[in-house]
């Protein structure tokens, strides 16, 4: 089975003369019908990876292949119709929707993209229902919605395009704590129902654990550990993954303090542990 998305030795750099390397040669793949999570803390390069995957950033080196074809940067040319089957969900729900368009029209944009590819058409109401919103929201403008509702509309718009790959860049971190897990689970369900694959970027391992089949842990632009989510969660090998998991506070009411690393960014976090990669 050929991979839906293949990222090979991807390097993303920012800045001119002395570029900052945000992503330092990472490889990963996403297959149809699975959720792959890319987790890490701020500045680890996970969002840059997501942006490079959809073509918002031009890779400095390496390749991003979607259906075996290289993804062109999102430039001034109209995106190739075949590429509209790759959709993105952004972190900030407030800037994800056009403020001057009604909800129904925004979802209709997604539907139109699906039609243009020859896929089956649909109604905005159907997708509102799919993301758990009432049909009477269709006539509203984004500023009349809460942040959580906006994000659901944004998800509905991308799903309405009937994608086979969804790149979600921290899609839940701007939401209220009580709706985060629910939205993440909903995204997984929608994605799998459509037979699509998803690259789910997050800093929240406990949510990722719940929805990802495979997980890659990123630190300073590199993947330090990757493999089946449960394996990584139950038996982390890399020092960084261990520290990350140990630092998650458990809401069990026991009053246990999470383990704090002895120092900020100890050098062993950047070490290479080959056996921590591709774990099954």
């Amino acid at each position: 089975m050929s991979d839906l998305l293949q990222v090979q030795d991807l390097v993303v750099e920012y800045g001119g003369r002395t570029p900052v390397r945000a992503v330092d040669g990472i490889s990963l793949d996403v297959r149809a019908g699975e959720v792959v999570a890319l987790v890490g803390e701020s500045g680890c390069g996970k969002s840059s990876t997501a942006r490079a995957v959809v073509g918002m950033e031009k890779p400095a080196d390496g390749q991003v292949r979607y259906h075996g074809r290289s993804v062109p940067p999102l430039g001034l040319r109209t995106r190739d119709v075949a590429l509209t089957a790759m959709q993105m969900v952004f972190q900030d729900p407030n800037s994800s929707l056009n403020p001057r368009k009604r909800v129904a029209a925004q979802i209709a944009d997604g539907i139109a993209a699906a039609r243009a590819r020859g896929a089956e058409g649909s109604k905005p109401d159907y997708w509102l229902d799919q993301v758990g919103l009432a049909p009477d929201l269709a006539a509203r403008y984004p500023h009349q919605l809460s942040g959580g509702q906006r994000q659901r509309v944004a998800i509905a718009r991308s799903i309405a395009a009937r994608p086979d790959l969804i790149v979600a860049d921290e899609p839940i971190s701007a939401l209220d704590a009580s709706s985060q897990a629910g939205v993440a689970a909903m995204m997984r369900r929608l994605c799998l129902d459509a037979g699509a694959g998803m690259l789910f970027i997050s800093h929240d391992l406990s949510v990722v654990r719940q929805i990802a089949d495979r997980t890659a842990v990123m630190y300073r632009g590199r993947i330090v550990e990757s493999g089946a989510t449960e394996v990584i969660w139950n038996d982390p090998l890399h020092p960084y993954t261990r520290a990350l998991l140990a630092a998650i506070p458990r809401a069990d009411g026991k009053g246990d303090l999470p383990q704090a690393p002895a120092a900020e960014a100890p050098p062993e976090w950047a070490s290479e542990v080959p056996e921590a990669l591709q774990r099954v």
Partner: protein, 310 residues
Amino acid sequence: MSVGEGGVKQRRIRRAVFARIPRAWLTPLAIIGLVVALAWIVVAFTASSFIPFSPTEQSLPRLQPPGGEALLGTDGLGRDVFSRLMAGAGVTIPLALLLVAVSTLVGVIVGAVAGFFGRWVDETLMRLTDLVMAFPTVILAMVIAASLGPSLFNAVIAGIVVSWPQYARVTRSLVLSLRTQNYVVAGRLLGYSPLRSLLRDILPNIAGPVLVLAALDIGTAILLLSGLSFLGLGAQPPTAEWGSMISEAMRNFDSWWIGVFPGLAILTVVMAFNFLGDSLRDILDPTSQTERESTGVTHAPAQASDGGER
């Protein structure tokens, strides 16, 4: 139907009508601005039908003080100041509106193209705006008007040449900031062509600030046209134009009414359009819209949960 019932209904209708008026319009300054600007616009287009004398005919005794046969007195050539004042509105205001409309159009097109296409297109267009903006506005307008030959039409051309760059600058920076917005990127990922992205995702969202700028600029345009006419570079005698009326008043310094009334006319119309522009800015601010439109929203808690905590 009883009288009381009718009264209730009327009140309800009135309330419904008022609910549709944005809050920002219900401030004193906005109302004054709106009323005065509308009054002047009406005058501008109907003056010829109600003025008692021809604005150009020298039929009355010269330098009569206000209050006589001529309501606001007569000027040094025996023309009725009131008639000239009203007719002057019909000269200056439409031309100022035209000036602003054309400069906005030119500026928005240039700015949108520069901001959206970037690179050398942007460089070229922006250096051009720098070039124009490097000169003091009024002086450049004077030079252009003078070299084209003194006439009102040329004054408008000069006004357009000096005022489009500000629209281009503002539009460009707005387009640049919107171009990377998630919803614009999302549109591109859905297969929007660049033109469609520009027309549907970007331009509607910059219309507000540009309109405000244009509304605030109407006053400036009136000042510019009157100023050029005052200097003899715009309206030519015997055309009734406020700037040239003030200029003519300089010759009869003792007859205060010749200059004061056109001066007041300029003052009121410029202030009215500035008030209007300010109110427009408040109205187009999306946060002020929320309050108005949420009256019809039934799921208030969801909305409150988003912005309540600041």
